[in-house]
Amino acid sequence: MVTLTVDGEPCTLPRDASVAAAVLQRGSIARTSARFGNPRAPYCMIGVCFECRVEIDGVRDCLACLVLAEDGMKVRSQHEIQPSSGAG
């Protein structure tokens, strides 16, 4: 098992799991969309949709579904704009 944090909350999952699996297990989101600020979470899990872009240890725009979860990783959701414009 490995333990990492997602938006500061600890999350433990099996060794072959991706960071995206951690985001989903936490019930967290990966990012807010750039134009409308709507919440998005991992969708395809195979590197196609790019909805799982998160910040991992300070590096933005990592495709979380293609990164294996590792002990001690700090995962943060990404917010391109403040979710204010609402509509969508």
């Binding site: 099996p14 699996a21 019930g27 989101i29 969309s33 750039a34 134009r35 919440p39 998005r40 790019f50």
Partner: protein, 491 residues
């Protein structure tokens, strides 16, 4: 160029590792190709974005088999088949590089091209040797010939490049976008994503979970969830009943394909026995919720249903991952039966670009068994083109795979017709539904632009940013193109 010039150049140090064959993708097609290529002693490298071989069909099969064999039954018998094949692949002598995402393939490199130019297109000449490759800085010839293709990829060590005489694109397929109202909400995933989560992380979706759409994978995932102890609250099937009628005339050919119909019936039987409600021919499906998916609403036999959910799994078939071959501008055609673009390849997977070969679901959806055959045939043809085997030997070795490919392909017309996604779930009629997830572009905006005179996907990209986002249009280009076509050519 004289022979002596060649051998001199050959002695010069190479800038890039040079392989006979670079295979992109370690799913069924890529693995089968690697096995055959190694049998013909081709120097072979396999690049795959995932951490372990197997592709989508056999995701993480090695670890599941060795570390939690008690879970194997969840994934069904076809999944377990992947283990011995993955093991043979590990031992075949191909240079397997996991976690390598290919960004671009570059064709014949001209003397002027100093920096890598992703997606540069050179017309296919049919010749493998296209002349010397001169380093513009030193004016020294870098390699024996400029014939090889360069593959630019990223792995944990950063950006890297290798060269290969042939490149086999075996990147498989992904699930067709299903742009329903609410499909961007957290809690909505593809059926394939549920399979990945189960295989890699041992995670099941939060309950209650509904499966929406149609296709073999939707039923497979429903059955997997049942075996994993999660009973879906509903399978909301969007394929219209007319599909079944249309598929009937392909039934004759389908019964010749080994095993498929029996598998389909046994999946249906499992769902029935478990008492999973199926809503066949559901329409007007929408997912509602404020910050997450909370309700799936749809019409079925004249009634409106609203089911509370925590997770919605979407599926309406697969489309080839066209990104790499499309960037090389290989000849392609529209397949109305599979409702997608396919590369125009010969029986061996050769495209219109010399040295670029496509095999498996990336060339058109055929399934795992067909992909294994296609990968093997592609490798035989490449070995033949590189003069490792003569024509007789190629054809002799190809016979088994060719026969098996024909048998497995006889199922496709039936499946394609049965599961052809209905127009309403290909292009959203609701104006507020997002079409392009990356750039947040909605259907109504696209229709408004068409009304203002936008007539092509290229124009649409420029004015709306639809299909210009991070995913490269993989999830929205088909939808946007169809939306434009419908608006400009009303039926």
């Amino acid at each position: 160029m004289t022979d002596s010039a060649r051998s001199d150049a050959h002695a010069a140090p190479l800038d890039f590792e040079l392989f006979d064959l670079a295979i992109i993708g370690a799913g069924p097609a890529g693995i089968a190709a690697a096995l055959e290529a190694r049998a013909q002693r081709l120097r072979t490298v396999v690049l795959d974005a995932q951490p372990a071989p197997g592709g989508s069909a056999w995701r993480n099969v090695e670890a599941v088999t060795t570390q939690r064999p008690q879970d194997l039954f969840v994934f069904g018998p076809d999944y377990a088949d992947g283990f011995p094949i993955a093991q043979r692949f590990r031992r075949c002598g191909a240079d397997y590089r996991a976690g390598a995402s290919v960004g671009a393939i570059e064709l014949a490199v001209s003397a002027q091209a100093a920096a890598p130019q992703p997606g540069v297109y050179m017309p296919a000449t049919g010749a493998l040797d296209t002349g010397p490759d001169i380093d513009p800085a030193t004016h020294i010839e870098r390699r024996r010939t400029g014939a090889d293709r360069r593959v630019h990829y990223t792995d944990s060590r950063g950006e890297r490049t290798l060269a290969a005489r042939h490149v086999l694109i075996a990147t498989g397929a992904f699930e067709r976008a299903m742009p329903l109202p609410g499909w961007t909400l957290p809690g909505v995933l593809t059926c394939g994503a549920a399979h990945v989560l189960l295989a890699t992380a041992g995670l099941v979706p939060s309950h209650p979970v509904a499966i929406v759409g149609s296709g073999p994978l939707a039923l497979q995932v429903a059955a997997q969830l049942l075996r994993a102890g999660v009973k879906p609250v509903a399978v909301v099937e969007t394929m219209p009943l007319s599909n079944s009628l249309g598929a009937l005339r392909h039934l004759g050919a389908a019964v010749l394909a080994p095993g498929y119909l029996a598998k389909g019936l046994s999946l249906s039987g499992a769902l029935r026995r478990a008492g999973v409600p199926r809503f066949a021919g559901a329409t007007e499906v929408r997912i509602e919720g404020a910050a997450r998916a909370e309700v799936v609403a749809f019409r079925h036999r004249g009634r409106t249903h609203r089911l509370p959910v925590a997770t919605v799994l979407l599926h309406q078939g697969q489309v080839p991952d066209a990104q790499l071959w499309q960037s090389l501008k290989v000849d392609r055609y529209w397949d109305a039966r599979q409702w997608c673009f396919r590369p125009d390849v010969d029986d061996w997977g050769n495209t219109s670009c010399a040295g670029i070969v496509v095999a498996g679901d990336g060339a058109g959806i055929g399934g795992t068994e067909a992909a294994l055959c296609a990968g093997e045939l592609a490798a035989l043809s490449i070995a033949w083109q590189q003069r490792r085997i003569d024509t007789r030997e190629r054809d002799r070795r190809a016979r088994r795979a060719q026969r098996a490919l024909r048998a497995h392909s006889s199922m496709r017309p039936f499946l394609d017709r049965l599961y052809l996604p209905p127009p309403a779930s290909r292009v959203p009629s609701d104006d507020d539904t997002v079409v392009c997830r990356c750039e947040d572009v909605c259907a109504g905006e696209l229709r408004a632009l068409v009304a203002q005179g936008v007539r092509s996907l290229e124009q649409m990209k420029a004015v709306s940013r639809c299909a210009m986002g991070a995913c490269g249009g993989r999830l929205c280009a088909l939808t946007a193109a169809e939306l434009i076509a419908r608006a400009t050519r009303p039926a």
